[in-house]
Point group: D3
């Protein structure tokens, strides 16, 4: 994306820098102003959702309140809830910024930040889940507490997954009591509204990192004890599901930088290593090592179980869904 | 679920007993009262949907009316329709009770009956379909007429599927005229609303048993001549589809106690035997014998076609999605 | 469908003839009048959506405006937009007629034209996309310019796909500037509403032919540079997706008369030849020759890669999803 | 009104006869059907409000629920409340019938019963007040218990007012405890909605007879301890107000057959005798004897205080607002 | 109003000139644009109601549709009705322009044309009544056919009232059949909505001239056979009422240039001469000669019945409500 | 009102004391909780409007946002505007408290503070006007700056009106620029919504004191340059109107403690002295001295112009509307 595309005249600051939020909001307003001028039929919509607001969190709270409201859950009530939390907590806002950046840079069909803010249901659903996590006292964006993971590009030489899982474990201890004690009814009511409005069903106790892209998002299902690391990209119809009728840790753990193709189904408490790639339509019931590719139903590792092919790229960022085909077509004769 | 979890202080009566409906409604109100106190932001919602009503059927009719209404189909009209039928027919109400019980006991993420009543779109969609079946004169919950099938645990030693199919056939003869003569426009309008609001598309002429769990439910498609027995559990994105452009009996017949994993596709007038298990992502185009497991695309029987492995459990109740993996991984090397 | 089923007393004119639109509208009103009489609870709905309108385009604009509106996108605004374009352009209207015919004749569960007009979300989503294409200046229904393709039955002896692709290429050159210059914000806002309301996500820059059936439609995702020929039938959960994080021509090209089964995933800039059939649940990453069948994950050609079995039928019209099973079951043993 | 004007082909039964309600409902449906045919733009409205309902009380409950609902008081809730009571109590329904008849025969601008049912806010507000009275346990339509008052034409030779007031006194004793104990919050919430929606402010503890016409109705204010007899006609902007800041019986008592002209203000616990006439714009602070006329600000009796002119007609039925002008113009020179 | 106040930079054209409508619309858009910039909270509202529209009639139809809609009368239906007529008939549009001018120049609290268009309920109610008159086939703006009356300042030397009444008589002959034959249900439904939403109750058969100001408007009641000439100003709570229970010509006839003060009540088929003034709170039951002043309850002529004081001004334009006080205070001692 | 009536168990603190707001809010919540328990049908309404909020200003902002919203002015936008100002400014909140107290103690039909907060449209309209005044920079509650006027009982021995008017004059100088420069569009849009929803039309530039009771409120009109002192009670249909078509100071000035009866009309820049009483239906065009009573149309002073009867009570607090009748009836014979 050439710098010339930014309407607000200044180049974006480095990801994660202090003034990124401010820059982004000014950029979003510039885009919306430009769109309102070229398309009068949308101007009212753009003013009410973006241009009449004084900050990104007010705009987001307003938009979510109006999207998720129903005749029995009023928009004013939802707006009030969202705004209260988004205003209080700066880490939530920086997570929002990272998710907007993820959609803008990884999805070639995403033409502007304001487009993502208004129209991407994966992005919008995720913000509600983050809100719920925060409200429920779960450690939000669990990996935040590990400083060197904050960089948008994770350090591939370290087994981040281990640390993620460790961290999750600690977070889970903290969260467990909170979750069982507290604001579950609110969390579940919001999950239900997201499922109705966006057809996205993410359990509010799932733990999700930063810089996540849910592309298209329709039909995504993420279970209660699932964990998703940083910079992961997940396509539509993906299931991170459980098994059995009893509680406990029963859903997948997804490492940083993973790419999960459309309609892939991953079931049970399995580990998808950092930088792994799951092909579209795959059914995965076993662990997948870091930086390998699993495809098919049942899923097999490209290159074979013993010596799977390893790739250098970070699939969650490169979004390359089909490069394994050459190996694969060999494999399938 | 330990008895201590029940807010209303008394243990649940045996499934199917006469006072189960009353107990359940008192339990739901106790849960809602408890939630309203701990979460004032939701209290208005809980009062309007549950606590202000005098019975389960009024609460359900109110909730469905408000969920499914649109600017051209008013909530008052839908409420009136639902309430009229739910009040009249006690068999519909006992089916509702069985479905609530199915979700509460089989889905570990389901923390209360009120949570299911308010938020489970699989449950809600199913109640509308039952309403429609009743309105259209189709014999509701077809197996009701066979007394010994009413037990929530089906008798595994009998080939229930045969009787189901037989019964269906008889029901179908009765239903056929009704369906072709009568309230199809209403039935189809409601199907359309369910598809818009819940992304669940169940044809109103499908015949569906008791104690059904549609878990997550997003993307489920059930065709016109499909039959689903008792105590079946079906995950999201499952298709029970037809083939060809001509009418007639062209959709799957699912026996009692079957478990169908996420994103499985079953096409054509095939029989899935009682207690069978269909793996996630499977594509099934042929009959599956009772108590066997079919996985993969195209689906194969675990243990092989000639002597498939048989299991003792009832998968629709145990919800075990992945235990076949040991056999399978042998199979796939 | 016997002629006796038509309420308005006259047989349908030949497809594509000048008076087809008029006949269809009179048929739809006759159906709605009949339904309103037999089902008073729906009469208000049928009058507001169909019977109070003077033409098919007014009825459609009204219905879409009320379906897609939200608290920030008013129904009056949407109605105004749709009506303006539908009234102006007769080619859009004839495309609408062809799509109604496609649903009515190919889907045995479709009992009337009015049922399709009111309740088929695949049909409704498609009309919005066509509206958007027109508004954005993209050559609508691209293959219109090739006269002999207008026939509802395409001439199987010609490699239409080549011409389609050629035509697409030319259209794309024209469209490219328009798309980059113009009404993208409106197009994307409508895409977002379709995705929320119908769970159907079709990029407004995709190019789509006439006589298309999106059956059930839930979960369909069609990417930015995808092309869909005439008389194609696409089931629910189908993905025509891209790969990579960069723009450019990166989505599938679907020839005329193709049938794509439920939950099939086709990725990348691959060509599905005219009259090909893609089995349910298949994952297709490579070209599929005309009139062959691809099934499985990864998808293979029935009959083998070297000499795939060729069929005479047009699967997009016959809707036969499972006939390949005989070959296949041989194949899989 | 010539008999030929009745669409349903049969002449109206005598007022108060048993089959009047049935005849009226059939007449209203006939009128609505006729209007729906001649005005397609209104057909949807007429079907939803009248033609889709099976009885007058359902239609009325539906219409009131939709008129009075707000974002915090749902239409389904109001519909449920109204329907429950209207269905239970036949005396409420016969009062509704008498009020419809009053508007139809006394207001020359009232062209049909359905017009009154749908559009007369005085009529609609009154039905809600009656509902509230019933719900609060106040003896509804207080004079019902005196049989010979039930006739639509009251017997002018009897001082009905005395009996009315006596009866009120008894009713009040019963009502007092109920009013102070019970459903005041509901009553006051409905009063507030009527005041917002219709600009009609009738305290729910006021006691109101049968056959009342509130013509135009805008701005009518009736206080807490006011009593209105049978067959009274009250124009818009009329106040039946109190005085002082303490409770107790402080509002006017209006006898049977009284006519109160537009913008008249009657204050304090004064008695307006049966068959009296209050001129438009009058300010009345003292008792007015039966069958006399009071006009002016301050109001004086036409003919003088000592020997006021007496009329034979029943002004509440003749609706003659200006005949006193001859006497008056003499009076005023 | 100094010319400098006009945002759009050009002075207003002469009243009634051909380009006045165009100038006014450009002025309204300039005002709205200015307001949207200075008050972002209102920008969405101003864009949706004014700035997104291409003409005054579209803006007005949109605004009225959204103001008057209810859950049973959809905004899209009303918008469609209004737009259809406003677009067709240029005389309706020129009447709208004259009414906007009347409010802007006569009411010192009216700060802009856009303020009047959006917020003046007297103006808005009047436009609906004009629409209804047109739809019903009544000769709209009855005096239009007399050319020399079109001037915004009427010629005071002519007894316009005579001609008005004559014209009314002719119009009435034409209208009578139409009114009895045709679109009464629609007319009365709209009257009812105006009464609910604006508390303004104007019978759709009343005949109303051009350049009318209904100031504040709350509580205005105008009866079925009332006639209002050109350039009349009417304050809130004014009643032009009838008498008796029989039909026929029973409401007041108001001449050109009349001013009727707040809460005045005029009853019966009396004539208020051109340029007369009716004091606030007056009750008028007899004819009032041209250019005289009637005050009090009952109303008397200032200066005495025999030789009433005559004024030169046109009260409907000067809006002088209290200048008679000097005469009057003499009169009342 | 005996202390026993207060649900929250503690007696009210002295008016104006620091903890009055806190006490009132706790009292309102206690009342609402009590009502919610006794009337389940209203519980949802009471929770959403009162019980789910953490402060009086949040409850009020929520309630007003939902009352005044329309399809083009969203409730979330209004809520945001109201909450922002109510939270910031404590003087606005103390004015709200004084107005609630005024209604509760002066209107015998007002049974609780929560009843007033939810249902009194006079109270609600007034809060919006105060909000608008604040937003527009006009000195709110103008007399606030004169300390000894803050007492709820004004000191009758001082000519407060003089000081009020002086203060107004100064306030007006400040306000003039602000009003002409700034947020007029917002102010007028809100005035319009109040007029539509409550039928109350108060110009946002009017200046209004503390402890005001607008009883019933329907039809009240207050002009642009009107001033209303402290502890004034105004009944419904009252007009404080202007005269003429030019701007400037042209509306009444109402002193402290005045009572204005129903349907009274006061026109022009006249002064109503402190503690004066205006009879119902009066038309007042001249000054009324302090503590005298004016009645009739045209209004005269009770006791005669030269030596009008003076009363000791404060009519705005005693609410005695009719005690003058003894003098008056002498007067009128």
């Amino acid at each position: 994306m050439p710098a010339g595309e930014f309407c607000n005249g200044s180049p974006p600051p480095p990801p994660g820098s202090d003034d990124e939020e401010e820059w982004l909001w000014s950029q979003i307003k510039a885009e919306a102003r430009c769109d309102a001028e070229s398309e009068p039929a949308l101007a009212s919509y753009l003013y009410s959702t973006i241009l009449s607001h004084s900050s990104l969190e007010r705009s987001l709270a307003f938009h979510l309140g109006n999207k998720l409201c129903s005749s029995t859950l009023l928009s004013t009530l939802l707006y009030d809830l969202f705004l209260d939390i988004f205003t209080k907590d700066s880490s939530l806002r920086s997570a929002t910024v990272a998710d907007l950046r993820a959609a803008r840079y990884r999805d070639p069909a995403c033409i502007s930040f304001s487009h993502c803010l208004l129209n991407y249901k994966g992005f919008l659903a995720l913000q509600v889940i983050l809100f719920v996590l925060f409200v429920c006292g779960v450690l939000v964006r669990i990996i935040n507490c590990i400083p060197d993971l904050k960089s948008p590009r994770f350090c591939s030489s370290v087994d981040l997954l281990q640390r993620t899982v460790l961290c999750c474990f600690q977070a889970h201890r903290v969260a467990h009591n909170l979750w069982t004690q507290c604001r579950k009814p609110l969390a579940l009511a919001l999950q239900s509204r997201i499922s109705d409005v966006f057809a996205v069903d993410i359990h509010p106790a799932a733990r999700i990192g930063k810089g996540i892209l849910f592309d298209h998002a329709t039909g995504v299902v993420v279970g209660e004890t699932a964990v998703i690391g940083n910079n992961v990209s997940i396509l539509h119809h993906v299931t991170l599901g459980g098994t059995g009728k009893f509680g406990g840790d029963r859903h997948p753990k997804i490492g940083d930088g993973v790419l999960i193709g459309a309609a892939a189904t991953i079931l049970g408490n399995v580990k998808i290593g950092e930088g792994a790639k799951i092909g579209a339509g795959s059914v995965v019931l076993i662990d997948v090592p870091a930086r390998t590719t699993a495809v098919g139903n049942p899923a097999r590792l490209v290159g074979g179980r013993q010596q799977p092919t390893k790739h250098e790229e970070i699939p969650g960022e490169s979004m390359d869904h089909t490069s394994f085909i050459f190996d694969w077509s060999d494999y399938i004769i």
